[in-house]
Symmetry: C2
Subunit: 302 residues, 2 copies
């Protein structure tokens, strides 16, 4: 029944037109795990951190019911670090620094009680690690979601294609869908990518929403128009965590259920961008989340 | 009760990655008028053409119930001509040629039976012409919709601001909304622009859909994901024509009615882009239009 979430637990330094946040906590597994924790209390994290990681954040993760047994701690080493600067439009960003640190030789090990998890979220990491995790599963999971980025398409396409061939849902952005498929039209891109393995494709378009493709069906989830996007870092991971978290809670992985899941994921992401780092994801109320989902309903209802 | 539609009736030469169409008919009033003609048979056109214009197209317009009394014909002169080339992604284009021809000294004259029209669509033209038309109205219209573009913001901002101050609905694209308001966030941009006069703002985002702003309310209309966009020329005008055409038919200009209108406008635009020029707008069936609108419903329903 559990949700296995693989990804970074890291530090970020973020510059946006709204200000700068130095050495704040971040990472795909942190954002996705926190987001999923609002839907299920069986979030099992697989990651690696250095001895320098922030104790309060690890405590927060535990207090939200997350299982950290699969986080390797390397004393004397440093956690993964990323620094980036967003352009004025917040849709584009430059990476200023990437320090792999503990991630350089990350060899994920699934604790025995993780290995029969039914829902798997493979956060954006080298395809080798994603494949390694799939190899350690002892039973066929109900749903595997993989998130990746253009970086891995550039340097490890063959291994990425292997990983993608073994999953159910791929989440990438529109440019990445075009790069991976060689098709500009997202409808055609989805057709090409679904032939690579995943039955379902989610194309994230940031402020322009997200598209869900399965068989000949398409669903569109809008993004909520916001007066201010404070910091987009982690929005994609928060989206993925909310998406799969909702599916775990509902126990239903049909296309209809995925439609609602993608709205919940979008709602969680809309909170994420309101503040730096994980600030807004620390203690949301159920009512806040439901009210936000209602805003998505109202936005498109005619 | 009538719908007064002011705009160009022109020739275009269009290059897209799908091919080239030379000297085909186009223009804002042609696209918008045809689109509106599926909702009302009182479409009154104000425009100017040269003696070179295409008779078959004028016949088509009449056969669709459009009134052409307000089209000035200048024998011996040439019609407005635009040539453009679309980039691979179809969202961006370069203007190759603009020949104003008859448009250079266009002085619109409303036939007397137009001057009490209740619905006014001011297509993308110099603000002087748009203001001139408003000045000729003998009674206060029920709804004035104005379409414009960055070009007029660059060279005639003061006159454009004057025109905008006298209308109910402004339709522009996202970049233009940012330029006009000086705000990047579309939510903030809408707030600034609505203070300039129009109670309602529609932001067209092309393949990313459209946003409708009024008071503190927002509605989002998705674009239909298409396997192939053949030629985007005229999509914005077709959208505007469908939008106001629906409002004429329903007689209801409330926010709720505008939500549905924007979906009908989007549906009409989705036909427009399937072929070069007005090819796809010549004879649509009511059922085709309703089926297309249903696709928009299905796309966002969860």
């Amino acid at each position: 029944m559990g949700l296995l979430t693989v990804g970074t637990v890291a530090f970020d330094t973020i510059e946006t037109p709204n200000g700068k946040a130095e050495n704040v906590v971040g990472g795909a597994a942190l954002y996705a795990g926190l987001s999923a924790s609002y839907f299920t209390n069986e979030v099992n994290i697989v990651s690696v951190i250095g001895g320098d990681y922030d104790d309060d954040t690890l405590e927060l993760m535990k207090s939200r019911g997350m299982n950290l047994d699969g986080i390797q701690v390397k004393p004397g080493e440093k956690s993964f670090f990323w620094a980036g600067k967003y352009h004025d439009n917040m849709n584009a960003r430059d990476t200023l620094t990437t320090e792999l640190n503990v991630l350089a030789d990350f060899d994920p090990v699934l604790p025995p009680h993780y290995s029969d998890d039914e829902y798997i979220l493979l956060g954006n990491l080298t395809p080798d690690v994603q494949i390694n995790v799939l190899d350690q599963l002892t039973s066929k999971p109900k749903l595997v979601v993989l998130d990746t980025m253009n970086f891995w398409m550039d340097i490890a396409m063959e291994r990425l294609r292997e990983a993608i061939s073994r999953i159910d849902v791929l989440t990438i952005n529109d440019e990445e869908a075009r790069q991976l498929s060689g098709e500009y039209s997202l409808v055609k891109a989805a057709e090409v990518i679904r032939k690579m393995g995943p039955k379902t494709l989610i194309v994230k378009k940031g402020e322009h929403g997200a598209l869900l493709f399965q068989d000949n069906q398409i669903f569109f989830a809008p993004a909520l128009p916001l007066a201010e996007v404070f910091d987009p870092t982690g929005a994609g991971d928060t989206f993925a965590g909310g998406f799969i978290g909702y599916l775990v809670r509902s126990g239903d992985t049909s296309f209809e259920s995925m439609k609602t899941a993608i709205i919940y994921g979008s709602a969680m992401a809309s909170f994420c961008v309101e503040r730096f780092s994980i600030e807004r994801l620390k203690n949301l109320e159920t009512e806040e989340i439901e009210n936000r989902v209602q805003k998505f309903r109202d936005l498109v209802k005619f």
